[in-house]
């Protein structure tokens, strides 16, 4: 009985989460003149690919496939940058005592509370002076904020038994080798989660690209989608808008479907150990 209630609770919530996505998906396959009709047909008939053709053929000059590849490049580089810099730093903060370590660590963590808005003007001027406005590096470098990564990874690094490292060090294993071949595999689930969070926050960022990018061919996905929505008619071309949006998010949802089970397994395994 109670198990039925739980399932009902979860089902209602899942509907709340899933129906907008389903609506988006089904509208994207409707001819534009059918998109707004009542009652809503959840399975479009007639079914059409014409909206997707418009998206792929760069209708009205908004190149969503190009924006997609820009976003993939930018977000991947941001995630790699954060992982490469945060991992060794988190390891040091967790394992090596040096003067002022704790003050430095908490000062770094405190910067997480700073609102992004505070950085826009100064970073915009810095980027402008470096001549990087309207380039992809401007999208990659400033948003790399490794502080969150150091904070999260340190927690996981702390859980590695100290004896493990002592034993490895006595056997002549250098710190670098210990980090690369023992510590990193042990905290792999945390690294994947951090990589994913960083990737997504860059992937979803609208405000910063809005400021620094002008050229359409350099736009990232959120920016291109905002322009896409502005270019097509909200009601009479809703099918096309939904196709653009669906095209943009589907690959990430599929990728995530694979990673998700892996992350869960990773997290629960690392805890059961």
């Amino acid at each position: 009985m109670s198990s039925f209630l739980y399932s009902l609770f979860m089902c209602i919530l899942a509907l709340f989460w899933f129906l907008p996505i389903l609506w988006m998906f089904s509208t994207s396959f409707k001819p534009n003149q059918m998109a707004a009709s009542y009652p809503i047909r959840w399975i479009p008939s007639p079914w059409t690919w014409e909206n997707y053709v418009t998206v792929v053929k760069v209708g009205r000059g908004i190149d969503i496939p190009k924006a997609f590849s820009n976003s993939v490049i930018v977000s991947t580089l941001v995630a790699i940058g954060v992982l490469l810099t945060a991992t060794p730093a988190a390891y040091i903060f967790a394992r090596v005592k040096f003067r002022g370590r704790d003050i430095l660590f908490w000062a770094i963590v405190a910067t997480l509370a700073l609102p992004v808005q505070m950085f826009y003007v100064p970073v915009y001027i810095i980027v402008d002076r470096m001549g990087l406005l309207d380039t992809l590096p401007a999208l990659i470098l400033p948003p790399i904020s490794p502080a969150l990564g150091v904070f999260l990874l340190r927690q996981f690094m702390l859980s590695i038994p100290g004896e493990l490292e002592d034993a490895a060090r006595i056997d002549g294993c250098s710190r670098l080798r210990f980090l690369v071949s023992i510590a990193v595999p042990l905290v792999k689930p945390a690294l994947v989660s951090l990589g994913l969070i960083t990737f997504l926050s860059s992937w979803n960022n609208l405000m910063w690209p809005l400021l620094v990018i002008r050229t359409p061919s350099k736009m990232t996905l959120p920016l291109a989608l905002a322009r896409f929505q502005g270019t097509y008619h909200f009601v009479f071309e809703a099918g096309t808008i939904m196709a653009g949006v669906t095209f943009a998010i589907m690959p990430v949802i599929v990728l995530f479907a694979f990673l998700h089970t892996w992350i869960i397994r990773g997290v629960s395994l690392s805890i059961e150990k």
């Binding site: 198990s3 707004a36 810099t85 770094i108 505070m118 003007v121 997504l200 905002a226 998010i249």
Partner: protein
């Protein structure tokens, strides 16, 4: 001999930190110092001159800045606690369910988090639009024929629903992963002593993950104070003032009205407010814990 080894080891430690520190100084520390300096300048067009704290005095008396906090305050007091409570409930239900089914629901609930806010904004603006809302038949059925769904009074509620949709699943996931780390023996012992599942959940397990809950409160409070994407998107459907949220006001001041130094000063004030609220949450959390003897 020992001393040199130790010296070398510390030097190596700095070598590990170096890439991080270089990046951190470049993208965080230097912009902060630069921003503080900028905020002390008056500006008209490209001309700048030193004015001391004059920008800050102007902000203190700028009603448009303080009015912008209505939305973050609403989110902070209503949306954040509700969402975290719901997320905790969901996380416990995950624990209760058969593994496979729980994993399926976790996936569905987490999905919106992977979707860019701009897309959430677009899709939800359809759902709340007057012309083609899928909710229309439901509203007609309930007797609200021809009632406008999206007007300015409803925007805070619409924001609440959208933010709920985007982040509840993620929040539940975070709580759930924290719960996985709670040793099983605690719950088993409590249940042997006759506690029900929900008693065990709220009185044994929840206190053990309080650190994570506090962090969630702080991160969501910061998010509420900085809310930008969702109202910016809704601005395409409803006329919203340029100072609808602090982030929008800062953005518009700098990049629509060209008041760069004033916007920077507002950013710093917002930073201080965020800091104070985070500290307050931390203190409240730790005091409550002390009072309960933890």
């Amino acid at each position: 001999m020992i001393r040199t080894r130790r010296g070398r080891s510390v030097f190596k430690a700095y070598l590990f930190l170096a890439p991080f520190l270089v990046l951190f100084v470049f993208v965080v520390v230097y912009p902060i110092i630069f921003g503080v300096r900028l905020s002390l300048y008056g500006q008209r067009g490209a001309r700048m001159w030193y004015v001391g704290f004059s920008n800050y005095r102007t902000i203190l008396g700028d009603p448009r800045f303080w009015e912008a906090f209505k939305i973050p305050l609403f989110l902070l007091l209503v949306q954040v606690p509700l969402m975290i409570f719901l997320a905790i409930l969901i996380a416990f239900v995950y624990e209760r369910m058969p593994r496979g089914r729980a994993a399926f629901y976790r996936f569905i609930h987490y999905l919106p988090y992977t979707i860019p806010a701009i897309v959430a904004g677009i899709v939800w603006s359809y759902i709340f639009s007057d012309s083609m809302s899928p909710l229309r038949p439901l509203l007609d059925l309930l007797g609200f024929v021809g009632v406008r769904i999206l007007n300015r009074e409803h925007v805070p509620l619409v924001l609440l629903v959208i933010i709920f949709w985007e982040f509840t699943g993620y929040t539940a996931f975070v709580v759930f992963s924290a719960l996985l780390a709670v040793p099983r023996e605690y719950a088993e012992q409590a249940q042997i002593d006759g506690a029900t599942f929900w008693q065990t959940a709220f009185f044994i397990k929840l206190p053990l993950v309080r650190g994570v809950i506090t962090m969630l409160f702080i991160f969501n409070a910061i998010g509420a104070l900085q809310v930008f994407n969702e109202p910016w998107m809704l601005g395409a459907l409803v006329v919203l003032p340029p100072n609808y949220t602090p982030a929008m006001y800062i953005y518009n001041s700098a990049f629509a009205y060209g008041r760069f130094t004033y916007a920077t000063a507002m950013g710093l004030v917002l930073a201080c407010i965020t800091f104070l609220i985070s500290l307050y949450v931390l203190r409240m959390a730790s005091r409550q814990l002390l009072a309960r003897g933890w």
